[in-house]
Amino acid sequence: MGFLDATYAALRLLFSADPELWTIVGVSLSVTLRAMLIAMPVGVGCGYLLATLRFPGRRALIVVIQGLLASPTVVVGLMLYLLLSRQGVFGQLNLLFTQTAMVIGQVLIALPVLIAFSLAAIQGADPRARETAVALGASATRVGWTMLVEVRFALLAAVCNAFGRIVSEIGCSLMVGGNIAGVTRNIPTAIALETSKGDFAQGIALGIVLLVVALGVNSAFAFFQGESRR
């Protein structure tokens, strides 16, 4: 089958409400959205605390987190696999090859991105914002909330960046998810499988969906970054 035929077949698949294809898309979105729901408050919260509190080891911690930004997702997958496998510390939980394992993996991948970006966002905020909130009598919690609202566009950019990273990540999902059809098969793992089987149509169709999602998220990222600089 040539590339053109495959692309034609892919478009047919996309518009034919093919249940298998949309199940895969559903797994991807559901896993990534759940991971984001968990990672967002934790990541932004840690970023805020790192920007605000002074404690011994803070600089070292920031360096480590920035290093983790570049951690290969297969390595995260490997570590998680070792922890979740039968012999692992969390072996009894029977989480290996479940969506929960994928969610955990994606949370771990998203966290450094969210922490590092929200740290930078809050450090980049105008110091007068905090001073003004304090001078107007706000409590520590209110000051924190005000700061997050003031840098909201930079935070949204962080969220888009993290989302884009985990929705397209394959290494960790493959290792701890196991690419089980209808359960843990998401867009990236399905593309890899279909392509290796020679079924390019399915792969291209899923690739288009992923591209649209990634493009949408990246445009949002660029937009929010622009807004946050104004």
């Binding site: 105008d126 007068r128 914002a129 001073e131 003004t132 909130a133 304090v134 001078a135 107007l136 009598g137 706000a138 409590s139 209110r142 005000t146 609202v149 003031e150 104004r230």
Partner: protein, 221 residues
């Protein structure tokens, strides 16, 4: 009547001693104009009085209550308001900016709206309510910041060069607002270089030289 007083206040940056004030006392019903050369420490002094920065040492009294900066007490924050030379407006709306301190004090919604409306009328901001705060001119921002402070009815108002970079008209408006702000129970310290504040009634001069305050006892004309 003495409202706010500080004694033995000192502040250094690295080797350089910026402030060394034995005694500074501010009386209710007076306005003080704080002058001094660039870098003499006017902003630093106001920020310390407002609890935004801490001095190296010093003790304060508010009325009869003693306080220091470790940490600056919350009850005093309710009484003292500092306004930056270029005020920062939150990226929300003019109304939300003015309501900010009221929300922080837990004023309930009905009362809050009433007070915000009064502040808007006081600073004549009615026509600017739909403008995003970042789009306001310098003079307009200054008026929003003053309204945001006024609505809290602070006992001590600390203004950092409120008329710098303003044209004659905005300047006059700001001076009028500052004048209208102050009552017999309150005091204000206004840092400035020039003679902008000459029109202010009951004005006393505080002059900062080499970290020392020269406080003259009689109102200047």
């Amino acid at each position: 009547m003495k409202l706010l007083a500080v004694t033995a206040l000192s502040k250094s940056f690295r080797e350089r001693r910026l402030l060394a004030i034995d005694e500074l006392s501010l009386s209710a019903g007076e306005r003080y104009v704080l002058t001094g050369e660039n870098g003499s420490g006017k902003s630093t002094l106001l920020r310390i009085l407002a609890g935004i920065d801490a001095p190296d040492s010093g003790v304060g009294h508010f009325g009869k209550r003693r306080f220091d900066w470790s940490p600056y007490p919350d009850w005093l924050r309710q009484e003292v308001i500092y306004v930056h030379q270029q005020p920062y407006l939150f990226h929300t709306s003019v109304v939300e900016n003015i309501a900010y301190g009221l929300r922080a004090r837990g004023v309930e919604a009905g009362e809050r709206e009433r007070l915000v409306a009064a502040a808007i009328a006081w600073a004549r901001l009615g026509h600017l309510l739909r403008t995003p705060p970042q789009k306001l001119s310098g003079g307009e921002r200054q008026r929003v910041a003053l309204a945001r402070a006024w609505v809290l009815a602070p006992k001590v108002l600390l203004l950092d060069e409120p008329t710098a970079n303003l044209d004659a008209e905005s300047r006059q408006q700001t001076i009028d607002l500052v004048q209208a702000f102050c009552g017999p129970e309150t005091t204000a310290v206004i840092a400035c270089h020039d003679r902008d504040m000459i029109a202010l009634a009951n004005r006393r001069r505080l002059h900062l030289v080499d970290g020392l305050i020269q406080q003259n006892s009689t109102p200047t004309l």
